[in-house]
Structure formats: structure tokens, C-alpha cells
């Protein structure tokens, strides 16, 4: 029986192996990242067409920003477990790596993807819609906490739908009701970060709510994942 530090190191090693494997696969095909980029760009284009180039108020900008992010997460992020199922590599993974390490690896990978999507979206919003960042630190904190919550929810739900026999657009249906609390806080904090006179204390409540949401969702994901994994 290894001691706690050794067990911890082994756990991290396993999780990192899964993450590296995901990154390598992604690097070879660049499937998910291309999909996400195209999705973000085309939805942005639609938004710009629909609203014209006139000045858009920060509340609307914040809402649109997060709608684009959440929709692209729902479209592009459910794939990683699905791919295992389709390629028949699931059993191999099940035998070699314990469930929690698999979840940690996949979660980290999804986090990387979401952050990539976020940076693209924010830059595109600044360029195309004249979004002006007043409080960069607040915006970064909001995006970071939001992405952790988003990644936890999408990863577990992605694992759920990978088991379904009729998938269709199942992920958005499952994801959106769950994400509504996250969405409310995150849009409000972003709104604050985009308006004149933004302060940390103005969004303190929203940020703690986001920490709480991210923590609860990820804890629950780790608790529940073993039931999905050992099926």
C-alpha cells in the first residue's frame, strides 16, 4: 500500500497521461478545435448581420458573448467520450486507468478547449462588435471560473450521452437547464467588467457564486463518474 504522497503522484501521473493522449490526438486531427473556431466565427457573423454595426450596449454584449461560448461548448465538447466509444478504445482505457484519473484528464482537456474558445470569442467581440474591456482582471476571473464550471458539467454529461443509443443533439438539452445558474452569474459579472467604473467588490457576490458552482459541479462529477464509467 503506497503512502498518500505516492498515491497522489501516481494519480496525477495517470491523469496527465490521459490529458497528453487527448492533446496528441487533437494535435493530429485538429478536429475539435477547427470545429469550434468555425462555430464561433460563423455564429459571430450571424450576430453581426442581425444587429448591424451600431454600438451595442454592454448588457447585450455580455449576454451574446456567453451565448456564443455556451453554445459552442455544447456543440464541440461532448466528443471526447464519444470518440472512445466509436473507436472501441473504451475497454482499453477502462482496464488501464482508474475512472477518476480518466475524468480528470478529459476535464483538463475540455478546459483547455473552452479557454481557447473563450479567447477567440473575446478577441472577435472586441474586433467585430467594439467590445471595450474596462476591468480586465474581473473579466479574466469571470471567464476562468465560468470555464471551470462549464468544463465540469460538459465533461460528465458528455460521458453520459456517449452511452446513449440514440444521441442526436442530446447534449444541449441536458446541459442548458443545468447551466442556467452559472449563466446568470457569469453574464452579470461580465456586464460589470464591461461597464465604466467596474470594481472587484461590485461583482464579489457573483464571483463567490461562480466559485461555489464550479466546486459543486466538479465534486459531483467526480462522485458520480464511477457509476457512468464502470458500466
Amino acid at each position: 500500500m503506497p503512502g498518500f504522497p505516492t498515491a497522489m503522484a501516481m494519480w496525477i501521473h495517470g491523469a496527465r497521461a490521459v490529458l497528453m493522449k487527448e492533446l496528441r490526438m487533437e494535435w493530429r486531427s485538429r478536429h475539435a478545435i477547427n470545429l469550434l473556431f468555425m462555430f464561433v466565427l460563423s455564429s459571430l457573423l450571424l450576430v453581426v448581420f442581425a444587429l448591424g454595426t451600431g454600438q451595442i450596449e454592454p448588457p447585450l454584449q455580455a449576454a451574446l458573448l456567453w451565448i456564443v461560448i455556451v453554445f459552442s461548448a455544447a456543440v464541440g465538447l461532448g466528443r471526447s467520450f464519444l470518440a472512445e466509444e466509436e473507436q472501441g478504445t473504451l475497454l482499453l482505457l477502462q482496464v488501464n486507468v482508474p475512472g477518476s484519473q480518466v475524468l480528470a484528464g478529459k476535464l483538463a482537456f475540455n478546459l483547455v478547449l473552452i479557454m481557447a474558445v473563450m479567447s477567440v470569442t473575446v478577441v472577435a467581440f472586441m474586433g467585430l462588435m467594439g467590445m471595450r474591456i474596462v476591468h480586465a482582471g474581473l473579466l479574466l476571473a469571470t471567464l476562468g471560473l465560468g470555464s471551470v464550471g462549464l468544463a465540469g458539467a460538459t465533461t460528465l454529461l458528455g460521458a453520459l450521452i456517449a452511452k446513449a443509443s440514440a444521441r442526436g443533439p442530446l447534449l444541449p438539452v441536458l446541459l442548458f437547464p443545468m447551466l442556467s445558474p452559472l449563466f446568470l452569474s457569469v453574464v452579470r459579472a461580465t456586464q460589470e467588467a464591461l461597464t465604466e467604473g467596474a470594481t472587484w467588490s461590485g461583482s464579489a457576490t457573483d464571483l463567490t457564486a461562480l466559485v461555489g458552482f464550479a466546486g459543486v459541479v466538479n465534486t459531483a462529477a467526480f462522485l458520480l463518474f464511477e457509476y457512468v464509467w464502470t458500466d
Partner: protein
């Protein structure tokens, strides 16, 4: 119940209780008159009509007007292009949706009368002898 589950439940309870922290944020959707004026956009303003300066209705122009004080104490005249809403004088609070107009008048598109959601009433209680 193994240790992992217990730790998980404690974490979930801990993170959930973060919600009870409130750093004095007000309800977001509402503004006071000054904020609405600086934003210049359509806004929700909560307040109370000012008692002595009673409301009046101009039937010719179909404009109902009253003086209203918001939470921050600003008083403005509000115009509403409809007859007096029902229940208006019973309101504990009024929520108006609209835009700041010219010369300090606030033009309301919609008035929601926030009434005492009471199932009890001192006056009525005495009358029914309860």
C-alpha cells in the same frame, strides 16, 4: 459510505454555502432615476408615488402623471400614456418600465403595481373579529 463519498458531500455542502455570502449586491435588473438617466436606455425603476403631490389624469391627452420617489430619494414626474392602473393607490411600491424623456420627465411604457402580497390585513381582521 466510504471516505471519498463523505469528503464529496462535505465539499458540496461547503461550496453551496458560499452562496449565503452576500456582499450587498442589489437586485440587478433595477435602477434608480439617476442611473436610468445616465444610461439613457429603457430601465426598470422601483419607487413609490409621493403622497401629497397627488396623481392626475389628463383625459384629453390620455396621460396619467404622478410624482415618484425612487429608492435613492430622487423624485421625478412620471408620464404614462394610459389611464390610471387599477390598484394604483394601494401600492406599496411601483415598478415602472420606461425611458427618461425630455425635461426631467420619465416616460413609462408599463407600470406594475407592487402590492402588499398580504393574506392578512389588520383593518379587515378587526372587522371580521378575528
Amino acid at each position: 459510505m466510504n471516505t471519498k463519498k463523505i469528503v464529496g458531500f462535505l465539499l458540496i455542502i461547503g461550496f453551496s454555502s458560499l452562496l449565503l455570502l452576500n456582499f450587498g449586491n442589489q437586485v440587478g435588473g433595477y435602477m434608480n432615476f439617476e442611473e436610468a438617466e445616465s444610461a439613457g436606455a429603457s430601465a426598470h425603476v422601483v419607487g413609490m408615488w409621493v403622497e401629497p403631490e397627488t396623481f392626475r389624469y389628463n383625459a384629453a391627452d390620455n396621460i396619467f402623471s404622478f410624482r415618484m420617489r425612487d429608492d435613492a430619494g430622487n423624485v421625478r414626474t412620471v408620464h404614462y400614456a394610459n389611464p390610471k392602473p387599477a390598484n394604483f393607490e394601494d401600492a406599496e411600491q411601483v415598478v415602472i418600465e420606461g425611458k427618461p424623456g425630455s425635461d426631467g420627465v420619465f416616460v413609462a411604457d408599463n407600470i406594475i403595481v407592487k402590492c402588499p402580497s398580504k393574506y392578512n390585513d389588520q383593518r379587515a381582521l378587526q372587522q371580521t373579529g378575528l
